[in-house]
Symmetry: C2
Subunit: 723 residues, 2 copies
């Protein structure tokens, strides 16, 4: 065991010889290590090649982090298993989901990140109320301790270590419609036409697994999509981005090019006998590409040309835990076992039949039985299990660097590891149309933001099981504040497009989505500001406010620096409780963004009204937001000429508006505009100031800025400035 000091705050402790995961962005060769026996804060035990780290927790300690995990935002009270798992039913007792983000904040004390890609178990105040017990399935790993009492600093150190958050194209901030599946071009066109005809803005429509020919990755079913290039450009001309799904499993089928290439070049993972490992997923029997091998990534990444050549820049890499329905050999054994019961009088053996059938998927033994050929040597999947989704996504991104250089992409992956946030993002997997899953969404949105996934979101309306009009309304209202704003639902469930219910619901959803589009300038600006400052875009209250109640509130969150979202997440509710910390807040109950129905609240706790058609949001005292009040069908339809600034200013407020081309990385070379807007209270009114910072290569289209400022009594002051 040895250690190296990386910064004033961060120390790396190294156990054994860790697998180099790609989670961090600095050069480890340059480190100077010193031997050591202990690490700060933790006690260490070793047991059967596992390391157990134990941390004493005090009664009032709060524990945050672990990214994509279930349970409360304060992670105490549950066991979390970091071992990528495709679980379609996120009931509260589940310990493992798709991703592994082993970054933890002990609030107001310190933080740490364990860089280990195999199984880790975090038992946080579950077995013992006053203990965190971390079991690491190896004695080769890195742990970074961030030794600062400031939570914001802990996050900043983690992000300096693992990289700045990924920035999607601007259109990805628009509304996105998904369904498993819109199976063919005709259906997608109909969905697209519905959006435009019904005057509901939308930027993207997803293509789920049924677009492929027999689920073969990198194929398009020609019966369903007779002229795919033409179809893509037709969608593009209507303002829609298509987002096809990509799965890792390659169907075993003679003559299928991806399969043949993989076989020929030995690109697939091997089993114990050095044969290509066979697993069953959507296409039936498949092989898994070995993304840990750079050569395989090069091959795979360029396959996306099939789509990018047509102008497609949005993708979701699915099933990359990797999910395994079953392994043929194991299924056969099961069938044999069941077969023996045929002649018997079956009683409670029935539970074996049922339970084993259910447990045939994603067995740990499967992951122990196939191997990766990495530049660091041969590893079983189990040993580096949590990297598969990341490396599939890395393959995609390395491909993009070649096939669409300097083009920003929307890239969602289901599985991920720490550092993934730097190159792409994730969605939250298969949730359900349950009211309870809105709270899961809210908690995970905050938790993932703490781990660097600033742009992410859950399936709005719920993926599995049938939704209801009220649930979709309330969830779509929450979605206004979710960076990824995607409505998605599963095969066989009730449709949940905005028009799937009744006119009343459709009208509410239209206004809801329009609020999102009006807020785009605010959201886009603040997103860039967040990435710059390394402060989560979606932030728990505890990062902003230090009072005791704020530390307990998990169902409100900051969106950028000025907005606090307080979504209604109970059925039949006509309002909700809100905590308004520290200073005054301006309540804007939005049914239509053009009407500003606002009210000033003193700090405190309130039950606020919010009818089904009303979205409750608060503007922080002495802060501004910006709106684009012009209606648009999709993000890039029109350039913005007029910007509306809404402010709640009792002293002074500032906002930095940001814009760029929305599609490239040219902003890194100064091709952007920043407008610093400031409003200062003076006697009988306000002083307004605007300062524009634009490059020659990117000029703002904004001509007019309209101010609408509310004072401490909620009285409105307006001003219009030309720019």
């Amino acid at each position: 065991m040895k250690k190296a000091k990386l910064t004033e705050i961060t120390t790396l402790y190294r156990f054994g010889i860790p697998f180099e995961t790609d989670a961090t962005v600095f050069k480890k060769n340059d480190l100077t290590f010193k031997k050591c026996e202990k690490i700060d804060y933790f006690s260490i035990t070793e047991k059967e090649n596992k390391i157990i780290l134990t941390l004493k927790l005090f009664k009032d300690d709060k524990v945050y982090g672990l990214g994509e995990t279930l349970g409360s935002l304060n992670k105490r009270g549950k066991v979390y298993k970091l071992y990528a798992t495709d679980d379609p039913i996120h009931t509260p007792e589940k310990d493992a989901l798709y991703g592994s983000h082993p970054f933890v904040i002990i609030s107001n004390k310190f933080g740490f990140f364990i860089d280990y890609p195999g199984e880790m178990i975090f038992d946080i105040s579950y077995t013992k109320l006053d203990k965190m017990i971390i079991t690491i399935n190896s004695n080769n790993f890195d742990i970074y301790i961030f030794d600062t009492k400031k939570d914001v600093e802990v996050i900043r150190e983690y992000l300096k270590l693992t990289g700045k958050p990924y920035i999607p194209p601007k259109w990805a901030f628009g509304y996105q419609q998904c369904r498993w599946s819109y199976p063919d071009a005709e259906t997608i066109k109909e969905v697209a036409n519905n959006f435009r005809k019904r005057n509901i803005p939308c930027d993207a429509i997803y293509m789920d697994i049924d677009y492929m020919e027999n689920y073969k990755v990198f194929t398009i079913d020609e019966n369903k999509f007779p002229n795919f290039p033409e179809f893509v450009s037709e969608m593009k001309s209507m303002g829609f981005n298509l987002v096809p799904i990509v799965d890792p499993g390659v169907k075993i089928e003679k003559g299928y090019d991806v399969y043949e290439e993989g076989i020929k070049n030995e690109y697939f993972c091997k089993d114990e006998n050095d044969k290509n490992f066979v697993a069953t997923v959507w296409p039936g029997y498949t092989h898994f590409p070995d993304f840990l091998n750079p050569e395989v990534r090069k091959w795979w990444g360029e396959k996306y040309k099939l789509f990018t050549d047509l102008g497609i820049t949005g993708f979701w890499n699915d099933m990359n835990e990797p999910s395994i329905f079953f392994v043929p050999k194991t299924l056969k054994e099961y069938l044999k076992k069941v077969d023996k019961l045929k002649e018997k009088e079956v009683g409670l053996e029935f539970f074996m039949i049922k339970d084993e059938a259910v447990s045939l998927s994603n067995r740990r033994e499967y992951y122990k039985s196939f191997y990766h050929n990495t530049p660091q040597g041969k590893y079983s999947n189990d040993e580096i299990h949590n990297l598969y989704g990341y490396y599939m996504t890395k393959a995609t991104v390395e491909g993009f660097e070649k096939i669409i250089p300097n083009k920003r992409y929307l890239l969602l992956s289901r599985s991920s590891y720490a550092g993934h946030h730097r190159i792409a993002t994730i969605w939250m997997g298969d949730n359900m149309s349950w009211w309870e899953h809105m709270l899961v969404n809210i908690r995970m949105l905050q938790s993932l933001n703490l781990s660097g996934f600033f742009y992410t979101g859950a399936d709005i309306g719920g993926f599995g099981s049938n939704t209801s009009p009220e649930l979709v309304i309330r969830w779509m209202q929450l979605g206004v504040f979710s960076p990824l704003y995607r409505n998605h639902s599963a095969l066989g469930t009730r449709h949940q497009e905005p028009w799937a219910f009744d006119e009343y619901t459709e009208e509410i959803l239209r206004n809801t989505i329009k609020l999102r589009y009006a807020l785009i300038p605010y959201l886009y600006s603040e997103f860039f500001n967040s990435v710059d400052s390394l402060i989560p875009f979606i932030s728990p209250l505890f990062l902003y406010f230090n009072d005791e109640i704020s530390k307990n509130i998990e169902d409100q969150f900051m969106v950028g620096n000025s907005i606090m979202a307080t979504p209604v997440i109970q059925p039949n509710a006509k309002g909700r409780y809100v905590h308004l910390p520290e200073h005054k807040w301006l309540y804007w109950k939005v049914s239509n963004y053009k009407y500003r129905n606002v009210k000033v609240y003193e700090p405190g706790d309130y039950y606020i009204d919010a009818d089904l058609n009303e979205i409750p949001m608060f503007i922080k005292e002495n802060s501004l937001i910006v709106l684009n009040e012009e209606e648009i069908n999709y993000i890039n339809e029109k350039s913005i000429k007029e910007l509306t600034v809404i402010g709640f200013v009792t002293d002074s407020g500032e906002f930095t508006y940001f814009d760029d081309d929305g599609e490239t990385y040219n902003f890194k070379n100064g091709k952007y505009v920043k407008i610093n807007i400031s409003v200062k209270k003076i006697e009988n009114g306000y002083n307004y100031e605007i300062e524009k910072d634009e490059s020659e290569d990117f000029v703002s289209t904004i001509e007019i800025i309209k101010f609408e400022i509310y004072d401490e009594k909620g009285e409105k002051y307006t001003e219009v400035l030309e720019i």
Copy 2:
């Protein structure tokens, strides 16, 4: 279709010739019917022998009722299927549970009860936001309309129609410990000893299925319970009531007396071929007794003598939907189907293997394939499905009338129908150790109380999946206010007895259970008062308070007339939001009932503190509660000599203390004591009055009443009166 007016408020509409269910308590022969075409409020459609009743719902209408169903207290937004179903995973999308209570309140408008024992589907604002659509699987049924705008009156009319709520023995208000299973006498003794040794009060220990010999009903495994009578009396002498489980399925086994008697006398349900119907449950192949047949009930009811002769008066009738793991014939067909896949390359057929295995239990077709021989003729189980649990329980109660006449019993059933609340009660079935299920518990507790089940409760700590110390603490705190206070957990899950965690948790749980025992005089008195007045013992706020927020609050509830329970139901919370309607409230944050840490709140909305060891409760302005401050190990250990009255009185408050022998129905013949306690504010203090009403045959043991009254400022006034 015809109608008859029953009371000023209630009209019965009769469709066709309904099956006489036993739900109501009046003589239907005496009714004078008039022909009619319509029923008030509803529109009627007929479709394939089904009747569809449709009710227009307005935006602000609130819908309550439906007893044991999932979803919110206000039932809008979900589909409910009333078809008794054994479902062990109560995820939010589930539509059917164990019981059928087709009683509905349209708040401030009217109420109705549909007396039909087959399948009914209530689609309440799910398909259409503004519609309730009720599909009744028959055109033979009764519907009662309660035409009053007063919700309390609707409930009272329903309870006059279906009978006064059942009253359990007094010991059933004590704490009860359950586990699937404490498998033998030794284990139960150890549990019992733990309670006494650790100074934790407890009145009952449950015996789950493993006490039987091979799950054969009305047997006791002699290896596990070598001298059962002695064991029962040993438990009794320690103050423990044993509560054995009873299942309806009778094992097919030559020589087993229950089986042989059933066969000989044709007591079992028949299949289509008039053979005894075979279903598989815990004992393997079984037959189901036909409880719809009075002769079968007579036979079955007397079987409980096995236990009652030993002094056992507590039972739980389980599995009586009836639950069917599978029907042998159907399993065979499945195995054959699976067998055919043995030689194939299985791909997505895997989902058939899995999904069909899971769906082998409780198939609708099973219930259509067996029959009841009722005094009203032969009916398939499907047609009268929801009555099976009720009639099993009726068999039990009819037996008790003979074998333990004038003895009160604790009788829980899993399945039930409207009217069941008159003869026994239910528990809420198989919940999970999920925080979300505390809210389910709270909502269902209120909903079941609206339907007449005043004494009921959920499995505290959660039945399925592993619990955590914090969850058990918070749930046990909620349980203080649950009439049935039973901690129960499933095979293979983490133990959750009060000492199962650590000393800190045990100490909190000890104090929590002691608070329950201190409150027994209040709970017992108010329970009787509730049954007398036909006002729910556990009541939603909307029955007491008329403000808008009270109608939206589902996680606070009244316990009797003086206490409002406001349990903490979020992990890691150090408090919660509360709504305090109409008048002042006295907040008592209880960590130990001997210390009264109280504070006066003005009406309004607050975030109140309540640390892990603190139980938040409020005392209504101008009301009193009574405590027994003496520590007891079980309810009947000692008679109460001193009563403590705690009051929050700004003008005047009253309370009627009630007591009786706790074991018989003698209270109906005047053998009880009532003490009317009243406290009136006067200048500089209070006037205290006590009025005792006792019969010669039942004399109160109370000698001293201590008053502890708080005024509007929270200042304490004390007085001690002899009585």
